[in-house]
Amino acid sequence: MIKQSLRYLVPAVLFGALVGFFFIGLQKDPSEIRSPLIGKSAPAFSLESLGDPAVRVGTADFAGRPWLLNVWATWCGGCRQEHETLLEIARENRVPMMGLNWRDERALALQWLAQLGNPYVSVAFDPEGRTAIDWGVYGAPETFLIGADGKVLHKQIGVMTPEIWRRDFLPLLAATEEGS
């Protein structure tokens, strides 16, 4: 008799487990893929500067100190959204931010910076998206934090907000500043 009633519990337990998996799984955002670059050396690049094709800018400019790489484009709506936050971060003047202008037109990108303000110390121009592939970029905006040792510490996929900056970036930045 006891055995009989236990048998009816089996589907209930299985159903409960299923609900548990869905409860956790459905709260995750499938579009956020953890970058395999985290903890590895930042992929080196040297590209034309957006403002002046004769000038090269790249990873070597930041050797020995932490920096940010923000991937943006004028066709990217999220980039427009986060621009104010990027300007705020630039005003803090704590860590230099480089822009990677991804698959864009030079004239449009320069116009954007002139109109909305320029949070970047330099902007690398990547119209064919080759450097972006090296960095595993799949959707702008994306923001990387690179440590003083040249390793990628964090990647933010999607719009940067002051909350994300304080919660995810500042503690890592403090740690890498202390280490250098």
Partner: protein, 148 residues
């Protein structure tokens, strides 16, 4: 009149089919062997922007860029394994539609075999029990045994 309509619709169907075969990707490699590897691999790689499409099916800019990288690597004589390594170093295993067997994915790969095995065990138990019941009381098989 009627046959004109038939001809016209056949032509339309043919045009749609021909178009569907290579709707997105117009680039071809000269070497037919490379082209074949190229087609095979573009169907095994995920487009990360539109995550349920392969880079062969996707019209996204990133998919086009990845196809270009793939063509260049094939022309440069890279092996399939080298190309997969290049992409997973940058985008993770998620870029592969056939993920490698790792501690995180072995259950996924083993699931079909495990389910089949489980089904066979259940089936064997049922058959054995019915055989026992039949030996004890042949008439019991006439109706469905209550405890099954």
């Amino acid at each position: 009149m009627r046959s004109t309509w038939l001809q016209a619709s056949l032509l339309l169907v043919w045009a749609l089919l021909a178009n569907g075969a290579n709707a997105i990707d117009s680039e071809r490699l000269e070497d037919p062997v490379l082209q074949q590897r190229y087609e095979q691999m573009t169907h095994e790689l995920r487009c990360l922007v539109c995550q349920n499409e392969t880079i062969a099916d996707s019209n996204a800019t990133l998919a086009a860029d990845l196809r270009r990288e793939l063509r260049e690597m094939l022309k440069a004589g890279k092996s399939d394994a080298e190309i997969r390594a290049f992409l997973t170093e940058r985008y993770g295993d998620f870029v592969l539609y056939l993920p490698p067997v790792t501690p995180r994915t072995w259950l996924l790969w083993a699931a079909p075999a495990l389910l089949l095995l489980g089904g066979m065990v259940v089936a064997a138990l049922v058959v054995l029990r019915r055989a026992r019941t039949a030996r004890a009381d042949p008439a019991a098989l006439e109706e469905e045994p209550e405890n099954l």
